[in-house]
Each structure stands twice: as C-alpha cells, then as structure tokens.
Symmetry: D2
Subunit: 351 residues, 4 copies
Amino acid sequence: MIIVMKVGTPQEEIDRLNQEMSSRGLTPETIFGRYKVVIGLVGDTAELDPLQLQEISPWIEQVLRVEEPFKRASRQFRHGEPSDISVTTPEGPVLFGEHQPVVTIAGPCSVESEEMIVETALRVKAAGAKFLRGGAYKPRTSPYAFQGHGESALGLLASAREQSGLGIITEVMDADDIEKIAEVADVLQVGARNMQNFALLKKIGAQDKPVLLKRGISATIEEWLMAAEYILAAGNPNVILCERGIRTFDRRYTRNTLDLSVLPVLRTLTHLPITIDPSHGTGWAPLVPAMAKAAIAGGTDALMIEVHPNPQKALSDGAQSLTPKEFETLMGELAVIGNAVGRWEKEAALV
Amino acid sequence: MIIVMKVGTPQEEIDRLNQEMSSRGLTPETIFGRYKVVIGLVGDTAELDPLQLQEISPWIEQVLRVEEPFKRASRQFRHGEPSDISVTTPEGPVLFGEHQPVVTIAGPCSVESEEMIVETALRVKAAGAKFLRGGAYKPRTSPYAFQGHGESALGLLASAREQSGLGIITEVMDADDIEKIAEVADVLQVGARNMQNFALLKKIGAQDKPVLLKRGISATIEEWLMAAEYILAAGNPNVILCERGIRTFDRRYTRNTLDLSVLPVLRTLTHLPITIDPSHGTGWAPLVPAMAKAAIAGGTDALMIEVHPNPQKALSDGAQSLTPKEFETLMGELAVIGNAVGRWEKEAALV
Amino acid sequence: MIIVMKVGTPQEEIDRLNQEMSSRGLTPETIFGRYKVVIGLVGDTAELDPLQLQEISPWIEQVLRVEEPFKRASRQFRHGEPSDISVTTPEGPVLFGEHQPVVTIAGPCSVESEEMIVETALRVKAAGAKFLRGGAYKPRTSPYAFQGHGESALGLLASAREQSGLGIITEVMDADDIEKIAEVADVLQVGARNMQNFALLKKIGAQDKPVLLKRGISATIEEWLMAAEYILAAGNPNVILCERGIRTFDRRYTRNTLDLSVLPVLRTLTHLPITIDPSHGTGWAPLVPAMAKAAIAGGTDALMIEVHPNPQKALSDGAQSLTPKEFETLMGELAVIGNAVGRWEKEAALV
Amino acid sequence: MIIVMKVGTPQEEIDRLNQEMSSRGLTPETIFGRYKVVIGLVGDTAELDPLQLQEISPWIEQVLRVEEPFKRASRQFRHGEPSDISVTTPEGPVLFGEHQPVVTIAGPCSVESEEMIVETALRVKAAGAKFLRGGAYKPRTSPYAFQGHGESALGLLASAREQSGLGIITEVMDADDIEKIAEVADVLQVGARNMQNFALLKKIGAQDKPVLLKRGISATIEEWLMAAEYILAAGNPNVILCERGIRTFDRRYTRNTLDLSVLPVLRTLTHLPITIDPSHGTGWAPLVPAMAKAAIAGGTDALMIEVHPNPQKALSDGAQSLTPKEFETLMGELAVIGNAVGRWEKEAALV
C-alpha cells in the first residue's frame, strides 16, 4: 500500500502517520519527492481498506494499492498453475481447465416442458455438448414475465439428465432453493444480477457442488474475482467464471458487449477456468456463431450457448437461441477452430 | 407494440403474422411504408415481451414498445398524483412526498458500538435529521472486510431509536433476516447490489414496513422502476426510491456519478418519492455539500447523508462520511436552499 | 511517479532500473515490501509518460502517477486562487468566476434567420442573459442534416449583438474559420466532439478571444483539463469549462447524463471558471429547469441554456429548447436560488 | 418514422399533426391503440430528424425511427454485396474485403528515425504484413508529450515504403496536412478522437486516397457508420472501418474494451471492410495475440498491430507494441486460424 500526501503536509503529520502505521504492525518507509511525500507500507497490507486508510489524516491525498485484493482466486495462490475443475456427469467426470478440451454447455433459457427439454438435451448431446443448461427459476426484469416453472422444472431436468447423459447446470436465485437444486444439478449457477448478492455467495460456497459464477453486467474484473473469493473463502474451491457481456453505452445492435479480453486478462490473474456465453453476451442468435468462434480462438475453456427447439415459441430469450440444427452446424465450425488450436475433444471432432 | 418488418418481407408472411397476433387476442394494423412494412398491435400489450415477439418470424426486424412496462409504479397508476409515504417514528409519522418538506436521513455506514451510534443519533437529530441510517449487515466487496456486527447491531439501533426519537433505516441483505430487522427498523433498505435480487424483492414486498430501494450501480431508470414494481406487485405500496450514483467511465475523482437528472425524470414517470444519497453518490465527503444542495434545488424529497463521529476510525466508508459538526453546518446551508424552494420544515429551520 | 515491480524481480534488474532512472536525472528510492519492491522517483516527473516508463523493464508491474499531469490548468498554478475571466460585450466586460454572479448564456442551437436571432436576443436579454449563443456552423451526426448557415449566419449574429448589447458565443468547427468567427464572437466555443481535436486546440490557443471548452461526451475530467492545457500552453489563458452531459448506459429518458459533480471536483483541481449546459446535458426541455436550479445550488459560475422562439420549427435540437416565455419564468426561479446562495446579480434580480 | 402520441391526445391535435405531415409530402397512417395513438409516416423519411419531429406537437411522446440513417454505407446500398477496396502498394494492389484474405497492417505507433522505421518495415514485411503503419503526427492527451516528428517523418515513411514494398497508412490530424500526407501514404487514417471532426471528414472525403476510419472511443456503431457516410457523401467510396476498443467502466486491466461483436454486426449493416486493432483495443502487448486470433476467427478482414523494434525505448505507446520477433511468432499462430477459416493468403502461409 502506498500513501501519497498532499503538497505542504507538515512534518509532524507525517511523523504522526508513521507512528499510527507502526502501531498497526506495518513498517512505513517515507520518500520525500520534489513536491510530495510518499509513504510505502511494508507488511501484511492485503486486507487493509484503502478508503479507510485515507481517513487517517486529512493530509492524505491518495492511497494506492500495490497488492491485488484477491488471494484464493489469484494465480499466485496456485503458484502460477491453472485449476482443472472436475464436474460429475452421468457419463463420468468432465474437466474444465486451461489444458483441457473446450467444454460445451447448451440448452434453453428456461425449462418449458418435458418433451422440450429432453428433445433439446438429446439433440445438443448428439452435436457434442457435455452439459445441459436450462432455467427452473428465472430472473426476469418484470414481475409479470414468466418466472420459470420452479420445482417442477427440476424434475424435468433430472429426467433430461438421465435420458441424455448430460450434466446439468441451472441457476440458483434464492438460497432457500440450494438444497433441492443441488439434488439435480451438477453445477449451480449464480446469475449476473446476483454476482454481488453476498448472502447467496456465502451459502453457495458452503455447499459442495461446483459453481458457475457469471460476471455482473457492470462488474469490474476485480469485483468478479472478489465474488469468486467469497465462494472460495466459504470453502468451495470449484468456481468456474462465466463472461456474459457487460453493459456499455451502445445497445442498439447488441444487448450487451461481450468482453472477450477477459480471456487473456484472467489467465494471468487467476487459476480458475473461464466460460464464454455468446448468447447473453450479444442477445441475438445471428451473432452467436462469430463470437463463439472468436472465443475459442481467444482461448476459452468452455462455451455456454442457448439452444431452443423452437425459438419462436420460447417463453423467454428466444431471440438469442439457436435451433438444434443451427447448433449442430455451429459445432462443426467450432471443431475447425478448436482443432486448429488443439483444444477440441477427439471423439467430438469425429461427430 | 410496433413490429417493423424487414425490407422485402413476402405478403404471405405478413398475413401469417397478423393471424398469429389475432389468435393472441390482439388487433394488428398494418402500414405499408415506402420500403418497410410496420404492424401496430392494438390490445393489452403491456405484458408482451418484445424479445420474444421478435422470434415469431425471421422477417421481423425490430419490435418497439410503446407502453411503459411498469404499472403500479407509474404516475398514471395514481392518475398523475404523487404518493405521500408515511413512516412511523417514535415521535410520530414522517411523510415522504413531493409536496412535503425534505426529509433528512443521516448516520454512519455501519453500527460500530452503542456509544458511537447513540452519539451520532443525538447529534444528527439535533441538527434536524428525522431518520438514523446505520448498517447492521454490510455488503462488502471483499469477504475479508468488516461485514457489520449483524444481530447485535440491531439491538444498538433499537437503543439509538429510543434515546433519540429518530426512525431507523437499515439494510436487508438476506431474506432470512427480514423478520428480525423489521422488529427494529422503520424502513427496510434494499441495497444497490441487490436491486435485481428478485427473490429478496418478492419477500420484502410481502411484509409491511416501508422500503427504501436503492438504484443499482448500472440499472436503467426503467429497470429500477421494474424492481419497485416487484415490491408493489407483492403487496407493499410503500416504496421510496434512492439514487446513489451510477457507474460511468470516469472514477478518478468520484467513486460514482450521482445522476441528479432522475429528479425531473422520475417525477413524470412515477408517483413514488425520491431520495438522493450524495455520500455514496460521490464517495468523498468534501463533495457531499455541493451535491446535497443541488439535490434540494433539483427537487428531491429526501436526502441520505453519511455522518460518523470519527470518520478516521470508521470501520467502513469513512472517506465519504461527514463529522457531526460538518453535518450541522451543512444542514444550515441546506435550510437556505430548502426555504428558498419552499421545501424545508418550519421548526427545523429555526434550529 | 511510483514503480511497482513484479513479485520475484531479481536484484540486478532493480539495480539496472535505478541506474536507468538516475541517467534520466531522477533520484530513485527503493522500498522492499513483504512481496513486492516499490521504487519512488524523485525529481521532475510531471512530463514522464507512465505507459512508456512501463516498458523499461519486463519486471515492472505498474507505474502509478502521483502528480497530476496538468499544470497551467491546475489550481496550484494560481496558488489556490480562482481565475476571473473577463469577456467583453457591447455593454462592457462580464466576469466569469467563482466569486462572481452567475452568468447566463442563452439562445438557439443554430442561427436560422435575422428575425429569429434578433428576437431571441432581445427576449433573453430582457430576462437577464448576458450572452447570446447560436450556431453558424453546426456539428451534425448526419451529413444530410442541416449544417448551419455558416458565414451568412455570422453576419446575423453581429446584427443581434449590436441590437441587443449581448456578447456572442459561437462554435468553431474548422480552424480555417477562426479568423472570421473571431471578428464577430466574444467567446469561441470548442464543441464536445472536438475536445480532443488537438490541431484545433492549438490554433484556438494561439488567438486572443476567450474560449468555452465543452467536455467531450466520454472525456474524463483529467482529459478535459488536459484539453484546456493545450489552449493554455498555446498562450491563451482565458478558458471557460463547460459540462454538457456525458454518455452512460442509460439513454432512454435523457440524451446524456449531466454530471453536476464536476462542480465541487473542478473547484479543487482548477482555477478555471465552470459553465453548466443543462439543455444538451439532458436533451429535453422539461428537464432543464430542475437541472439549472441544481447547478446554481451546486456552485456553477455560468449557465448555458437553449432558447428558441418557436421550438417546433427549429432546424436543430428543438426538443431541448425552451421558449422565451419559459426562459423568463425559469430566470425568475433561478434568481430565487441564486439570491439564496449569494451568486445572483443585483440588477438582474430586480427584473 | 413512427410517432407515438401521449395518452389523452385530443383528436384535433392528431388531425393537425396529420395535416402538417401531409404538407411535408408524407402520408400519415393512424393506429388507434387501447391507450395510445400511433402514427406511421409513409414516404421519404430517411432524412427526417426524430428530435425535430418531436417538437411539432407537445402531445408527441416519442418518435421512433424505422429506417437506418445511413445510406451509402448501408449494405442495402450495394444490394447486399460487400465492397472490395483496392489499395495500391509498391508491389501491386491489395484488396480489403469479406471474400479476401486477411490483410495485416503492422508498425510502430510513431516514426522515430529512419533506421527504426525501415528496420520495422523489413521485419514485418518478412513476417507477412502488407502495410506499414506509423505516425508522423500523433494525437497525445498532453500538450507536453511527444507530438510526432511531423513532416520529416513523412520522408522516412516514403523511404520505408520504397525499401520494403509495403503500403503506408498514417494518420491525418489537421486537414491542412492532407495534401502532403497523401503524397506518401496509400491510406489516410482518421483517428478515434477525430471520428466526429466533421470538417476533417468532409475534406478527407474530397480527396482520392482510401481512408481508414477508426471508431471513436465512445461512438455507437450508428455514429461510426454516419462518420463513414460523411466521407462517402463527399465522394470518396473507399472507406475501411477500424475497431480499436471502446471506453467502458473497467479500465484496470485493459485500456479499452475491444468490441469484437462489431464483426458480425457490421456485416449485416454495411458493405465496408472491417479492421480490428487489438493493440489500441487492449493497450497491453501480452493481450494482443489472443485478441488477434479471436478477431480472425470472428471474421475480420484486416488486422492492425503495433510493432516496435525496441518497445522499451518507444517514444509513445510502447506498452502495447510487440517486438518484431513476437510479431513473427504471432503471424505463425494467426496463419493457423486464418487457414482454418479459409482467410489466409496462400504465399504468406508458406513463410
């Protein structure tokens, strides 16, 4: 941590500050610049809050953090090595990680009926997907919009899991539902709107199933990793990050701006695996293929793609869903890129 | 709702679409433009989802909503009249509303000790505040930062309430805590990070205490009003909106950008009262007075201001807290503006 | 300037870096932290570019600037004192400054005809304005939209100046026009889109007329002050800053987000006077009065307000223009706030 | 164009409005909805300004545009076909276009010396680049930063062109320099900060050399295409669009957010070719390779990459420059993706 003092700070104030820091177990080192005095704090500063520090003296101009605030999520925490996160599915464990083949997650925004979810599961499985996504509980901007079929949809997901052999990923919106969702799902999803619902993060960190943590629509990368840190600190080491588009000034042609630069950025900051969701990330099905291909070339570990057997009749988010047929075509195109970069599963490539 | 068709849409597709719309109980009216065909939908379209509608035909270019999606929160819902929301305090009800004096809420970010919270309460009461704010449960970016004293802090708030006569406003982060918080608080606060925690909104809408709903850091005004709609639709009509700064590209000199234009904008859209929080809205105590004054001149119904007896020692958010003395001075300046615009309480002005 | 080294930097690299810095005339001071090494650079660092510095060693993690990059625009440059900028008008000099009455600039977006501009000038003069704004050259998003009447409009502005006694403010879009505009205008305006048109800034800084510098739609406060620095460094000390709204994620109910927090922020950073433009800042006439009042209470030195004798027929930006009658009413309301805060001209208050 | 009337608009006002529209040569068609009346305007509405239209009646709630405002830049203008833009180089014409191999532009931020620019040219040529970029005139945030060597740098670019056989792309900041730059450059670049410098756009549209138009840092896609429209409308049909990152709320780990979704979006909107600049788009050399690969997989027509023989000593933007060696390695990786998607030049692949 570095403290920058205002021009003209009296020497006594600097002495006082240094004493205060020493009394907190830190070793202050002072640099007298041409105009300003700068104090470096040596010691365990990672948990100091810069904003609070700022208040110790009215002569402090700025407090600059030198250490990152995340620990368990940091790449250093694993000495530079990436995590492989293993997720169980009916057909055995699937690994998410930097040195693993790209994992594909596909399925509808929400579970609408048994026929629909099972059909989708079988189709996306045949095309190479490993996981079925599908919402039982849906976050909707309007209280009057379809909110998901809830508990009954969980049964349908269980049925689709059994019939297809796919793992299940579904969203938890209310901590009270964690237990019953965890009975069915292989991965619990925390949605973008709940990324800083800290009560939920703590509770989801206290259970065992792997967690897919979506980035909040205006969360910085640092805040996103700190949200992961909540889950990790609560005892669950299996967090998969998912970029799903951020909010910017231009929403005319895309609903969000898919930030693919998180791929190289997160690689250096964290050991956690990364998923890209080009469906929410753009909001329009015709844009999904280009962005999915770009994500693989850019180094993603997984893709999450919305597929609906009949997007015209979708009860939510139809505009961003591919048909099963479009998804099959896309998987063929993705295999080309995936093979070129050595990140595509052998068998899947044969399909 | 208006549907814009792509250039070159075949007549049969337009006919098919019109039939589909008729089968949903809507009356479509078609306009043949020079290049494009536009279909207006007459009927109860407020609950239609434009994104879903879009998917009915691949020939649809755009679906434009003409009606606002909020109902109970809309100004029209009360035939153009503002709501006066009455909140109980030990010294009787206080009204929040467009034709009422500006209500001042003050207090620390978090409750730290009995002495500290009682002292603050007495000081801000003496300066004219009607409500004491203070967090028992604190949303913090880091799991390692001080998370509030929780349940024990609720007891301290109750004590401060009794000794000062101020009403209490405190944040609910976990729906499981609603009941115990509601025993102490006069107003339950939903924080910015939980503005779209729909599970929480529904539960807080199902209880009786008035709710202060903070705007999410990147929530549009429409999304904010839809969050209010969740609470209203769940049965609680007493929602007070609170602007606390939005996230923009420039965070060098302010932590957020306080969007005072919500004052005239919300007036025409909603009947709900409006609070401005210049402390979180700027993040720095020296900026608070100018923004508080601007908020009153711009027409706010209430102000929420952080005050801490010793900001240097604050366990959270010290940088944005005024001292009690600074708060007193500010209240004197606010009275000048408040009296000029006829929105200042008579007695308070005498203090 | 502070250099933060990566974890594990070898001692030789630190020595090499310190030598390199010394050879540039700076005195490096090294702090050995628990994990990281930090080097403070003492000397004349204001013109060093942090991004460039970063490249001196692959072991550098971050370079943090301690000094602000602006000099002539900084408050320190005038030892903490604000500038009073004096602008000539036919009726004598008008002062813009922190200790002066609020100056009002009013007029249409563009000059449309002699009758229209003269009528507007006389009406806004009568209501208390000191300056007439009006575009001869208009920046328009579309090449097919009305681009202003150009040179002929300058003649009309001269006529309005003579008949009304108001000073003239008009925009320069092309450096080739500076000379002929300067013959008529009392203040040259640099528009938001040209805030970083450095070629124009240099040329406008090389002439004598005061300059109104609008903030770019997504310019940080630092970039804005650096744009002012271009003009100041070119020899023209008379720069007035004008906030006109920034671009954020929400553009549904306002065209831009008027950032009133610049008022207290700029006060501490710069000695230059500040104008608020609530017309462009919101984009809608009904929002202008609330924001204009807020701006005065927040401490603005001047206001720029669009007034058009017949907004329905305006060739540009009618939606944000007040009628002369609405402007008169507003000036009455502004006088109430202006008098309350001691920033309203005596005579104008009598009107 | 569609006009939405406010609830309760009197019939006479609707009649008046319809007459007004008819008098402007448009055919209004009125739809009476449940609450609101909507008027569709049939005729040549592309040049109507919605904001102005709004002002025709105080009863108008909203004006919605149905047609895109750009014409010459629109995909429809070429009946759905993409443009191939041919640019001369010493070694013959190079085509930019959707059905052409990806074109690579490489070189330093600014031209520093003959040795440096010629060496860079030869190295990037050998690695497969077709164009050399290099600034003679540099837009810099600070007036005190290096502004480019100007005219003398143009001579060095000419020399590098002759010795390497590469085409030259360089930025025009001042319209007065167009002529002398056009003597040397094969493509004139308009920088992000000047994207809405309409005076410059008009003048650059009036000359013959192809233009590379960078997207403004907060320009919407629509505004960017309208900027292209200025150049096209002035008579120059050879515009290449270049995405270089937009400004968002998170600038901690990237300087800008590279918006790769422009690739599929622009394809449907415009016939103009697209370039991606991952160097400015991220601001950090280590992020460039992932984003360059993603851009090719996503469908870009060209890449612009900063290469500097000695980034540590670069006078500007060193932090985002690759070394020639890093660039060679990257070109090998790009060839893998480029070949996989069938967009890599045969010969270049052999290198």
